[in-house]
Symmetry: C2
């Protein structure tokens, strides 16, 4: 198994990415090889710093970098030899089993759609994030930012794909799918969620448990939390800020510590023909390591093949 | 000054409401009188329990109660002698300066529109809630549930009315108005927020500071947080759940304690011709007391008259 990692992506690259890759390479020793994509000179210098010479990490040289603020479509077109473009080219050619980057989120999304493309029949590829549960489990939130406005049938597919991810990657049997709304009753919600409720309710391929509320993010009402990308993004950033506030106050706890994005790793792109995952811009080596392990889990479970089978059927 | 309180509203009424009224009556002694609306026998029995005989509290007898689960419009039509209907009748007749209830939220909203009515020119009356700020201040969130779907011009008015409330009631000079979105850049957001951004930016009556994100709820980026009622409701309930989780874990802190809805009191209805405020269904005596004091502040600042002047101009 081969995992490609964008060595140039993220605020602290290539230092943090190379260090994270080393951590992950050791954890995945014998199971996966890591391909670091980026400036070979810079990457090798970082590997040398750590005295790392294991063949568990190899380097793919690229000459260009897409910066955090760049326009995704323009950047991808103008920089064919960027680490993100190269990572997707390898993913498309099936030379790697997964691609991870903490770089430009927009370029990661657009790159996915340009290269491996959306699964046929899946309306709007999306990005998922995770909510630690008070009971020790984990929930998946779909979407957290790729699609700000969502039609009801798009929300329905988020429920399906989130359910597949929860079952295949998180190993949650028969995952409970909840629709984020402003009240438990099925008539509550905005127009899109009200209509999506009916579609999800009629969908026999998932275990729909009805509407959930903002207070249910961390309890065990739902394993899959369905919402549009605008709402999911607000939820995600609010949860992150809670962690930051408590950390600032030196308040620590086994649950609170799991709110740290670092503990999670990255946000997978769902609904594309390949396993791709986007890391937090501020990723530390530990976050990079977790993201690479997550990419490995996605590749092992072959979840993108499951998506394809579901929608081609 | 007279404040009407629905003695029958809330999960623990009339015990909690009468006890809360007593607490508030003593705090507002010499400044405001409280009118308890509801079953006179029940209310008097509660007052007797506390040995309370002060004329600071008087009782308005009603024979009907709108239960928490009842359909608002039907209930108000079928129960003209309910405590909520009576409270609004008194507010409309200007026999009281404010009306507060921890009862059926929908009935409180519909009752406002049926009786004192929306301010002319104000498109969608809304409900506001509060975010404690890390710097010790407080922010106002508009809307938190009255309007799940909002057009851009409705969001613009939420910015205006939230700004008036922040300035007049919370005494924040030139309050900063932020639009909740999924990124700071003005092009980020769903379709409604993208369009609302342009309207708010062009609005010279407010101090618009641009988009804010989920992580900015508790920092000092904005004093007024504009969002649709669906998003505001998710935010509010998520913040409540954080408080509940930390309380459960016996984690306490001066900031965290201010996340308790009890510390806030209630959520005022903005954009109607009168001062009305809705309490949390689970209101304790302390929460009722705070809500009554909040109602007093609204009445003192005469904020609903300010709304009227703004939109009739």
């Amino acid at each position: 198994m081969k995992i490609a990692l964008d060595a140039m992506g993220g605020d602290f690259a290539p230092g943090a990415t190379v260090e994270g890759a080393i951590l992950a390479a050791e954890k995945l020793a014998g199971k996966a090889e890591i391909l670091l994509i980026g400036d070979e000179g810079l990457i090798k210098a970082e590997l040398q710093k750590h005295g790392y010479t294991s063949p568990r990490i190899s380097v793919i040289h690229t000459t260009q970098v897409i910066a955090m603020g760049e326009h995704p479509t323009k950047a991808l077109t103008q920089k064919p030899d960027s680490s993100i473009a190269k990572g997707y080219a390898l993913l498309k050619a099936r030379e790697v089993d997964a691609f991870a980057s903490a770089g430009n989120t927009g370029a990661m999304l657009v790159g996915a759609l340009f290269s491996v493309k959306a699964v046929e029949g899946f309306l709007r590829p999306c990005i998922a994030s995770f909510a630690p549960k008070l009971n020790g489990g984990i929930g998946v939130i779909v979407d957290v930012g790729a699609n700000a406005d969502c039609k009801p049938e798009v929300l329905e597919q988020f429920g399906e794909i989130g359910s597949i991810y929860a079952e295949e990657v998180l190993k949650i049997p028969n995952p409970k799918v909840g629709l984020m709304s402003l009240g438990e009753e099925e008539g509550k919600g905005n127009m899109a969620t009200q209509a999506a409720h009916q579609l999800l309710k009629a969908n026999t391929s998932i275990n729909f448990v009805g509407n959930i509320e903002g207070r249910d993010l961390f309890n065990d009402k739902a394993d899959v939390i369905v919402c549009d990308g605008y709402t999911g993004n607000v939820i995600l950033k609010m949860a992150e800020s809670f962690y930051d506030i408590l950390k600032e106050k030196n308040i620590s706890d086994s649950f609170i510590d799991r709110l740290d994005y670092e503990a999670v790793g990255g946000t997978p792109i769902l609904g594309i023909n390949g396993n791709a995952i986007i890391g937090h811009g501020a990723s530390s080596p530990g976050a990079i390591c977790n993201m690479v392990q997550q990419a490995y889990q996605m590749a092992t479970s072959d979840v993108s093949e499951k998506f394809k089978k579901t929608y081609s059927a």
